[in-house]
Structure formats: C-alpha cells, structure tokens
C-alpha cells in the first residue's frame, strides 16, 4: 500500500493512468446521474435516430438512447470484468498455493488438470461451456474462469516454491508454526504483489474475452446494456445504423486501453526490479 502511494507521488504515468481508471469507475457509478435517458426505455417513434444534439450517440431500433446505454454499459462491463478477474485470481491463486505448499498428490492432481487446460485453445471451451450452460453474465464468467485459472495457478505455485525455501519460512516451521499461520503470514504476503501485477495486466484481455462471449450471445442477455451485447445488436443494423456498433466498440477499446496502460505502470511501481525499457 505504501509503495502504491509512493508510486502515485513519484511516477507520473502511474498517477495519470490511475486517475483514468478511477474516472471510468466514477462514470460507471454515476451512470444514473449522467445518463439523459433510461437505458431500457423504448420509444418506438424515436427509432434509428442519427447521433445529434438530443441523442449524442443516436438511438437503436427500439428508440433507446445509445449514449445512456453506453454509460450504463460501463456498469455491466466493468463489474463483469472485475468479477471475472477476482474469480480467476482467487481460484488460480488458491490452486497454485495448495499445489506449491502441500506438494505430493495434491500437486500432481492440480498440475495435471492445469496441463490439460493449457494444452488446447481456451476460447473454444469457454464458448462451449457458456453456450451449453445457457447465456448469462454469470455463466460467461464461470466459463472464462475455467479456462483462465491455470495461468495463475502455475505462477502462484512457482512463487510459493521459491518462497518456501527462504530462511524465514524454515524458521517459522522450526518454531512450530501451523501451516495456516505460515501460509497467511509468511507465504501469501510475499507472493501477492506478483499475482496482483499479473491480474492487473490481464484486465484488458479478459474484458475483451468477456465482451466477445456477450457479442456471440453467450454472455449478458437483452435488454441489458452491456457493450459486447450492444455490438451484437449493432451488427444487425450495420447498414442502417452504424453508430450502434461504433460507440460501444469505442467504449470497449478505450477501457481496455486504459486498463492496459494502468497495468503496465502498476508493474513498474510494484516491481522496481523489472525496469521498463
């Protein structure tokens, strides 16, 4: 935490990108205040209005205001991706820590499963899982967690193995520390920074995958304003109302870019050894 505050003061790029991330979160939270219209309110006589003064981003086939939907979409898309990152992070780290700390059979089983998961393309399994379970944001998150946790498990495992050999862990064991105590006070704090850096750098990519599933119809369901889903709806009106696919896509693009930049800078701040070239 101290390093974060320090980084905020000394690393200008980190400060700026952090503010941008906060701005995105603020937009998501303040959507009800900022949005000029109800995002799900249909007004058939206003269908397919071009972007203009009254409707900044135009309207869709039901006459819903695209600008309001993009603003509200920030809520669905950001909360979705945060939920996803947390879930991948928790599942992966837990598996990796168990595997690395206890070793033996636990290790063999977890690592064999993880070998299996990385040996074929994840997206196709995610599509199958989300599709078969039925399209919903929660199912999409579960599907992407199933295919993404292995990366974190491997990283956590190798970090635990490294930390485990350090003197202070040996000392704690000799002093009769219980496994839970050693895990929580000695091992986790030492592996967390690296895990968090990885998770932060992954937000952008996971966001695109989640939006991709929604785009295919295997994530959020209508009439929810979610960017991937809006792009799907916009795709059907590419000829008559291209603005319907332009703005949600732009929103994803900007958000992913901000998170990617932030992730890079966070790494510089938390991991000074890894000097950015």
């Amino acid at each position: 935490m101290e390093t974060l505050v320090n980084g905020f003061k000394t690393n200008r790029a980190f400060a700026v990108t952090s503010l941008l991330v906060l701005l995105l979160l603020a937009i998501a939270l303040a959507a009800p205040v900022l949005a000029p219209f109800d995002p799900t309110h249909a007004e058939m006589k206003d269908a397919f209005l071009e972007p203009g003064m009254s409707h900044l981003f135009g309207t869709d086939k039901l006459g819903r205001d695209c600008f309001s939907r993009v603003l509200y979409g920030a809520r669905a898309s950001l909360s979705g991706v945060l939920f996803l990152v947390c879930s991948v992070f928790v599942v992966g780290t837990t598996m990796g820590v168990l595997s690395g700390y206890f070793g033996g059979k636990v290790d063999v089983v977890i690592m064999r499963i993880s070998d299996m998961m990385i040996s074929f393309p994840g997206m196709i399994l995610a599509i199958a899982v989300a599709g078969i379970m039925g399209g919903s944001l929660v199912n999409a998150v579960i599907a992407l967690t199933i295919v993404s946790w292995t990366k974190y498990a491997r990283l956590a495992r190798s970090l635990v193995l490294k930390v485990k050999r350090r003197d202070f862990v040996e000392a704690a064991i000799v002093n009769g520390g219980t496994p839970t105590h050693i895990l929580w006070t000695h091992i986790l704090p030492n592996i967390l920074p690296m895990m968090v850096i990885t998770a932060a750098a992954d937000i952008g990519a996971l966001m695109m995958e989640l939006a991709g599933l929604s785009f295919l119809g295997f994530g959020s369901q209508p009439p929810a304003p979610e960017w991937g889903l809006m792009l799907n709806e916009g795709r059907q009106q590419l000829q008559t109302a291209p603005w319907l696919m332009f703005f949600p896509g732009l929103a994803i693009f900007i958000t992913v870019m901000v998170f990617n930049l932030w992730g890079d800078n966070l790494r510089d701040v938390l991991d000074p050894r890894n000097d950015a070239e």
Partner: protein, 313 residues
C-alpha cells in the same frame, strides 16, 4: 526431442482428449432442456408425444446411465464415428471435414499477413530503438492490442464493405474476396502482438556478449544483425507462432461469425446455438486435437532448427 519424449507427448494428447471429451459430455448432460425433444422439434414449438420421445431416447441409448453413454460415444469415436448432426443433417465427421479448408485458409492467410508486417517492423524498431519509427510502431501496436477484434471487423466491414463497396458483406463461402477482410482483421491484432515480441527478442539478443564480441572484432553491423542475431531471435518466436496457429484454428470463432466465414469456429457456435450436442462434442475434440498436434510438430521442428539439439540427437 528423443523418441521417448515424443511417445510421452502422444500419450499426453490421448489423455487430454479423453479429459476434454468427458468434460464436454458431462456439460451436455447438465445442460438445461431436453436434447431429444430438441432433436425432434428443432427450435420450433411442436408438440411431441412422450412415447415418441421415449422411443428416440432408447434408440440413441440416452436412457442408460451417464458413464455408459460416454463409453458408447467413445467406442464409436474410436471407430471414426462422431455421431450425426441434426443441424447439418449429415454425419459430424463429414461436416467437420467440410469446414476444415475454410479454417486452414483463413489461419494461414492471417499468419502470412502478420509475418509480412511484424518481422520487418519489429527488426527495424529494435535496431533504431528510440527513433520516430520505433515510437510510431510502439504506439500503433499498443492501440492494436487494445482493440477488440470483432469491433475492428465490423468497422472494416462497414468502411470497405458498405461505404466503399469494395468487398462483399455477406460472405458464406471460401473465396479470395471474402477472405481479405477477416484475415486483415485477425492480422491486425496479431501483428501488434508479434511486432512487440520480435522487437523485444531482437533487443535481448543485441545485448548479448557475443554481439559485443563481434563488434569488437570489427564485424559490420549488418553482418551481426542478419547472420548472428536474427537466427537466434527467431527461434523462440516459432513456438509462439505455433501457439497462434493453434489458437487461430479454434479461436477465430468470433471473427468467423462477424464475416460469416465457413470455418470450424463458426460451426462450433452454430452447433451450440442449435443445441446440436453431438456436433459440439465433435468440434471441441477435433479442435483440441489439431491444436495439440500442431504444438507437437512445432516442438519437433526444434530438432532441425536448433543446432544444439541436432548434435544431441
């Protein structure tokens, strides 16, 4: 790789395939909705009698316990029979083979495009590090990796298909004019990623002692770059290339959907949407198999490309 390692890898492929097919099979069982009812009625609301459903269920062996059903499937799969697709109204294997050329053509075209751009750009920006080309390349590649592919695809479709009317927008069959937009879409994201990888790989090699040594011996910069640095830097990229090819074969699904390209990814999505589970099962196993075989071939290619391994054999 020694013969023993190759055998171990083949064994692993078999294990993974068993695991994958079991997982998808289990998922299908857990899926909401009645598969049999779906098979008879499709996506329409037709009233089907219970007797009819029971008869078909028995005929398909769906009344047996789960594990036996899986063994049935496995037994048939080993004989090359992956079941019947009621969506395509033909055997699953036939449908898979029909979609294979489309996927291969698209994957190879986008990989080729990617290499044509990313290798020269990556080398140039590494050598002229900090110059304006390098900065420009880094800026563009950063934008490239942050853009969702399906959005890029839709934008290209809108600009070049609708506004400029240069390409067909419906797609549907494998042809050169249908191929250009989807392969460019896939290549944009990959080029961004690889240009950075090539640049990093070259920069890393340029800092090695042997480069300093070569300079000290008075070798020309171009000799060092082309004869010493490049071969070393390209080797690790081949693994990445193999992974990308594997990912393209299965993971280009979203782009295939945008352009209505007849490939395996789109087939998987259609099969899931129609709840044609025999086909879903077939596609997933088939894609997993291709992916693993490609990666094995890439690793084998190291035996020939890396002189150290060549001697060890």
């Amino acid at each position: 790789m020694t013969n023993k390692q190759i055998l171990a890898r083949l064994g692993q492929i078999v294990l993974v395939l068993l695991g994958i097919s079991f997982i998808t099979f289990a998922l299908v069982m857990l899926a909401p909705g009645d598969v049999v009812r779906q098979m008879i009625a499709g996506n329409e609301d037709i009233i089907v009698s219970q007797a009819e459903i029971d008869a078909l269920r028995k005929e398909l062996g769906l009344d047996k316990p789960f594990f036996f059903q899986y063994l049935d499937w496995l037994g048939r799969a080993l004989q090359g029979n992956l079941g019947f697709s009621f969506m395509a109204k033909k055997p699953v294997v036939e449908e898979l083979l029909e979609r294979l050329p489309g996927t291969i053509v698209l994957s190879v075209a986008s990989l080729a495009l990617m290499m044509v751009f990313s290798i020269p750009l990556g080398i140039y920006s590494a050598v002229k590090r900090g110059g304006w080309v390098d900065n420009l390349v880094r800026g563009f590649t950063f934008l490239g990796v942050s853009m969702p592919g399906f959005w890029v695809g839709l934008m290209l479709l809108w600009i070049f298909g609708l506004k400029l009317d240069l390409f067909p927008i419906v797609g549907g069959e494998v042809s050169l004019e249908n191929l250009i937009l989807p392969s460019v879409t896939l290549a944009i994201a990959m080029t961004s990623k690889y240009t950075r990888q090539v640049r990093t790989a070259i920069l890393e090699e340029l800092h090695q002692d042997y480069v300093v040594g070569a300079r000290a011996r008075g070798m020309t910069e171009s000799h060092i770059l082309w004869k010493e640095v490049l071969p070393n830097a390209m080797l690790p990229l081949i693994t990445l290339l193999g992974l990308s090819l594997g990912n393209l074969l299965g993971g280009a699904a979203v782009i295939e959907m945008v352009f209505q390209w007849p490939g395996l990814g789109r087939l998987a999505i259609e099969a899931i949407t129609y709840r044609d589970f025999q086909l879903v099962q077939g596609v997933v196993v088939w894609i997993a198999l291709m992916y693993m075989v490609i990666n094995l071939l890439v690793d084998l290619s190291y035996n020939y490309l890396d002189p150290r391994l060549r001697k060890a054999r």
